[in-house]
């Protein structure tokens, strides 16, 4: 070989050597420098995690009757079979599921890199929809119908406010943090409890999702099932609510409100609430609101419900507060008795109309009750008696004992959110809201009969009745009796929690109870409806005047049996008129149901004078 040719061969060799050095450098970059990155990419190629959703706990009533369960619902999803989404399939699905084509396409666009995961299009489809999809199945590519649990509310519209519902966020940062501390990592889009015990017991009901690690191939088909963390089902909750009693209360509220509207011609009667407590523990046996809503159709009807002027979505039993009229009179009496400015035997004469501190005050329909001691005064709900009692005790004592009975602050319930603290009429409160105006004795008279600034929630009223019944113990009201894990072990059991003992003497409470006993006995304002009860009872009726020219709120608080209280309750019918014809019949029916298991209707005895 000649010299020039040899040189050219060498140059070819040199070019080859240079090329291979460049390749070795490139390989060093890929395999050594960027190894971690590509390793991660290869692993990401390889594995996918599938969440195994935990079964949400079920909710039962105190008798073990199922209130909220999960039923299988059908979910339509679309999967990329490796050739992209089939436009024809998208068209059919858009038509069958009645979703805009653009909406589906947008969802697909957003998931280009997650194409192996099925795209959920619609949850809880009907049987007809399934049938239509099956009809077209030979035209539909990559369409799956999966079964997923859907919350089912067995009690329909019963206890809707207590149970609450699920929804997607928004979850505020504080809640998120609290949940994280409880070991539950909230993800955007998770279904979480929005109201009621679904909300307050969210972390316990939810359980812990499991995870299945899957090795997948390029088509997203599972090749190997690797580690699996089994989901831990949520706790089942057993409520203190007795479904039968709850339903009886709800039906009774509805029946009476409709009666007031249709038969009495009072078109203003609207919302009504009833709360029934166990006075010996604080357990809430029933919490009923009228109107309510059906949790099964809640999501479809949300718009309509939220625009309803009767506000069916609001849990008035804890979220609304009212002037409570004559049902407040036990507070005034307690103040006068405890201060020693009045005894139960002191006689006050009621002329029907009095003029005190420049104000003309009357009893209901200006009835002159004549000479009364405390028991008679409470039985007939004499206003003039309690004006005097209030004036003797003074506003500060009245307000103090109102607070002793738990008014003006939270009852301590933690199983529900959004409780209103209400207001106790007092010198300080007036100064605060009016910018320092002073308190007048005339206002003391109003406050003494539950008017003025007094504003109390139905739950506070029921707790008030319970405290009188049980000797002054304020128990924390609660809804969840126990939580049971999936193995049947009791994970939580409620214990009655006395929050406070009212500083009221046993003697005074005894006098108050005796006075309330007289209310349901002959010549008492509640006798008409309570006479037929198989048990002894005690209570107080009330009609709270409201601003404007609207009918008064109709109220009742009470408990039974008198000697050995098992239930304490409060009933209110907004603008339901006087207590004796609005709230009392409801209370009597609920008590009748509680003690007899049926409602036969209580005969109205006509020989009673109308009273509030």
């Amino acid at each position: 070989m000649n010299k020039p040719m040899l040189r050219r061969v060498r140059i070819i060799l040199i070019i080859a050597i240079i090329t291979f050095i460049i390749f070795a450098g490139r390989l060093a970059y890929l395999q050594v420098v960027k190894h971690d990155y590509y390793w991660y990419r290869a692993e990401k190629n390889r594995y996918t995690k599938i969440t195994l959703p935990a079964t949400r706990g079920e909710i039962y009533d105190s008798e073990g009757r199922l209130l909220v369960s999960n039923r299988p619902g059908f979910v339509v999803s679309l999967m990329d079979m490796g050739e992209g989404y089939d436009p024809e399939t998208v068209s059919y699905l858009s038509e069958i599921l009645q979703i805009d084509r653009e909406e589906i396409e947008e969802a697909i666009e957003g998931r280009l890199y997650m194409r192996y995961l099925p795209l959920r299009l619609k949850s809880d489809i009907t049987n007809e929809t399934i049938a239509r999809i099956s009809e077209y199945r030979w035209k539909l590519k990559g369409v799956n119908i999966d079964i997923r649990p859907i919350r089912e509310y067995r009690a329909g519209s019963s206890a809707a406010h207590v149970l609450g519902f699920l929804g997607e966020g928004p979850v505020d940062e504080a809640t998120r943090k609290r949940w994280a501390e409880e070991g539950y990592q909230y993800n955007e889009g998770d279904l979480v409890g929005q109201e009621g015990v679904e909300r307050t017991w969210e972390p316990f009901l939810r359980g812990v999702d499991g995870e299945q690690l899957i090795e997948i191939n390029n088509m997203g088909q599972p090749i190997n099932y690797l580690e699996c963390k089994e989901p831990v089902p949520g706790y089942d909750l057993y409520l203190t609510i007795d479904l039968d009693l709850q339903k009886a209360a709800e039906e009774s509220l509805a029946r009476r409100v409709e009666y007031i509207i249709n038969k009495e011609g009072n078109k203003y009667a609207g919302r009504a609430s009833a709360v029934i407590l166990d006075p010996n523990s604080g357990a809430i046996l029933a919490m009923a609101n009228y109107p309510s809503y059906d949790l099964n159709t809640f999501h479809e009807k949300y718009q309509e419900l939220s625009e309803d002027p009767r506000r069916p979505l609001v849990n008035s039993a804890i979220q609304a507060s009212y002037p409570i009229g004559s049902t407040f009179k036990m507070v005034t009496a307690t103040a006068a008795l405890e201060k020693g400015v009045m005894s139960d035997r002191d006689i006050i004469r009621c002329p029907g109309v009095v003029r005190l501190y420049g104000d003309t005050k009357t009893c209901y329909r200006s009835t002159a009750h004549g000479s009364l001691n405390f028991y008679r005064a409470l039985a007939v709900s004499c206003n003039i008696y309690f004006y005097h009692a209030g004036l003797r005790a003074g506003i500060d004592a009245v307000a103090h004992y109102a607070r002793e009975y738990g008014f003006g602050s939270s009852t301590g319930i933690t199983d529900l959110t959004g409780e209103s603290p209400g207001v106790v009429a007092s010198r300080e409160y007036k100064a605060e809201v009016t910018g320092g105006e002073q308190w007048y004795p005339a206002e003391t008279m109003s406050a003494a009969i539950g008017q003025s600034y007094n504003s109390i929630t139905p739950l506070q009223m029921a707790n008030y009745a319970a405290m009188i019944a049980n000797g002054g113990t304020h128990y924390r009201p609660y809804l969840v009796q126990k939580a049971v894990d999936s193995k049947g072990q009791v994970a939580y059991a409620a214990e009655p929690e006395p929050l406070r003992q009212a500083q009221i003497s046993a003697k005074t409470l005894g006098i108050i109870r005796e006075g309330m006993r007289a209310v349901t006995r002959p010549r008492g304002t509640a006798y008409a409806y309570f006479s037929r009860l198989p048990v002894t009872s005690a209570g107080k009726t009330g009609s709270a005047e409201v601003h404007g020219n609207l009918p008064a709120h109709s109220l009742f608080v009470g408990y039974a049996p008198y000697e050995n209280p098992q239930i304490a309750m409060a009933v209110i019918v907004e603008h339901g008129g006087i207590g004796a014809t609005g709230a009392v019949p409801i209370a009597a029916e609920i008590m009748e149901y509680y003690f007899t298991g049926k409602i036969e209707g209580v005969n109205e005895t006509d020989d009673q004078p109308p009273a509030d």
Binding site: M5, I12, F23, A24, Q31, V32, L112
Partner: protein, 369 residues
């Protein structure tokens, strides 16, 4: 015909390098295909590869027995026969990936475009050897250009861009060694570049354009054209320094790497054997090319030297383009990696080419005492 001198001149280094590459190729092929679904036998590809290594080895030895000088006289026949096959493939060929490349003959499909590689090398060596290392005038190049252009056009019609590029590389490499004038080479390359837009708009198929685009930006469309490239780099990169070990390529097992046993086999090798293995393989190829070029320098005549150089350039170009593609420094052109990629025709042609080089080595002028 065979005497002691010929045996003493037999280049065992080249043979060993070839055997080593065949062994690495077969092993990687086994790793890449043993888990494939739908195979009649998990060893299907390995067995066929071994069979063709056997046939190829026989061809290689057969070629060794005949003094290569005789090929000069047969060049015309070989060339014409090859042209006929190339025309035939257009008429009766089997369609594969939208191109006609194969003629089924019994137990395997004949690929005239592969055979044309070695035929072109012999033809060019024959044409250029007469010039004794001097090509002073442009018309001196014309026979070589024409001889290459004819099969190139036929292959482009199939269409097979990658293989026709190999012919071009062989032509340029051999012209260079044969002593082409710098300005003539420049003119050739310049006119080639000038014709590039013509190619882009009139001759390149859509898939070929897409591959070139994907080369420029593989992440552009990770689910489409760039997919193959991206998965190849992910595989190689994830192998690291020492690799995941034989049979442990997750990219292959889970189907993320298309063409893993043909064009993309280096990605499998790189993932399983790591940087150390990949560099070792590069060194083996470099040694093969070096050895062939060394034999070229020892050849007794221009014809033998040019034969060797043509073979060296052919291997070099294929390694350059194939490995360059898998590590994303070259566009995807669908050129197999010699001795590694599964391919019956390529194996036969590669081993025959080695046979030619061994032949030249055996009959070199070297005084032996």
């Amino acid at each position: 015909m065979i005497n002691r001198r010929l045996i003493r001149n037999f280049d065992f280094y080249l043979l060993l390098a070839t055997i080593a590459l065949c062994a690495a190729g077969t092993f990687t092929l086994y790793s890449a295909t043993h888990g494939m679904e739908g195979l009649p036998d998990p060893l299907y590809f390995v067995k066929r590869q071994l069979l063709f290594i056997g046939v190829g080895a026989a061809l290689m030895l057969l070629v060794c027995f005949i003094d290569y000088v005789n090929f000069k006289n047969w060049t015309a026949y070989l060339y014409v026969a090859n042209l006929i096959l190339l025309v035939l493939v257009l008429v009766i060929g089997e369609v594969e990936k939208g191109a006609m490349r194969r003629i089924p003959i019994g137990f395997f499909d004949l690929q005239p475009s592969e055979i044309a590689k070695v035929v072109i090398i012999i033809t060019l060596a024959c044409l250029l050897a007469e010039k004794e290392g001097k090509l002073p005038y442009f018309q001196d190049l014309l026979p070589a250009l024409g001889a290459t252009a004819l099969p190139m056009v036929l292959i482009f019609l199939q269409p097979d861009l990658g293989t026709s590029l190999i012919y071009l590389a062989i032509l340029l490499g051999m012209l260079y060694v044969a002593g082409v004038q710098g300005r003539h080479l420049g003119l050739l390359i310049g006119s080639g570049l000038a014709a590039a837009p013509l190619f882009w708009f009139f001759l390149l198929e859509e898939y070929q354009k897409n591959r070139l685009l994907a080369f420029i930006n593989p992440e552009m469309d990770p689910t489409g054209k760039g997919w193959q490239l991206l998965q190849s780099i992910i595989g190689i990169g994830s192998g690291g320094l020492l690799g995941k070990g034989p049979f442990n390529s997750t990219q292959v097992r889970l189907g993320f790497l298309p063409d893993h046993y043909t064009d993309m086999i280096f990605a499998v090798f790189g993932e399983e054997m790591g940087y150390v293995g990949a560099v070792a393989l590069l060194l083996l190829y470099l040694f093969l090319i070096y050895r062939i070029l060394w034999i070229a320098t020892q050849a007794k005549d221009q014809f033998g030297a040019l034969l060797c150089c043509g073979v060296a350039v052919m291997f070099f170009f294929q390694v350059l383009v194939n490995i360059g593609m898998t590590i994303s420094v070259m566009p995807v052109t669908g050129i197999p990696l010699p001795f590694m990629s599964y391919g019956n025709n390529a194996l036969l042609v590669n081993l025959t080419s080695i046979g030619l080089v061994l032949n030249v080595a055996m009959r070199r002028h070297k005084l032996q005492f």
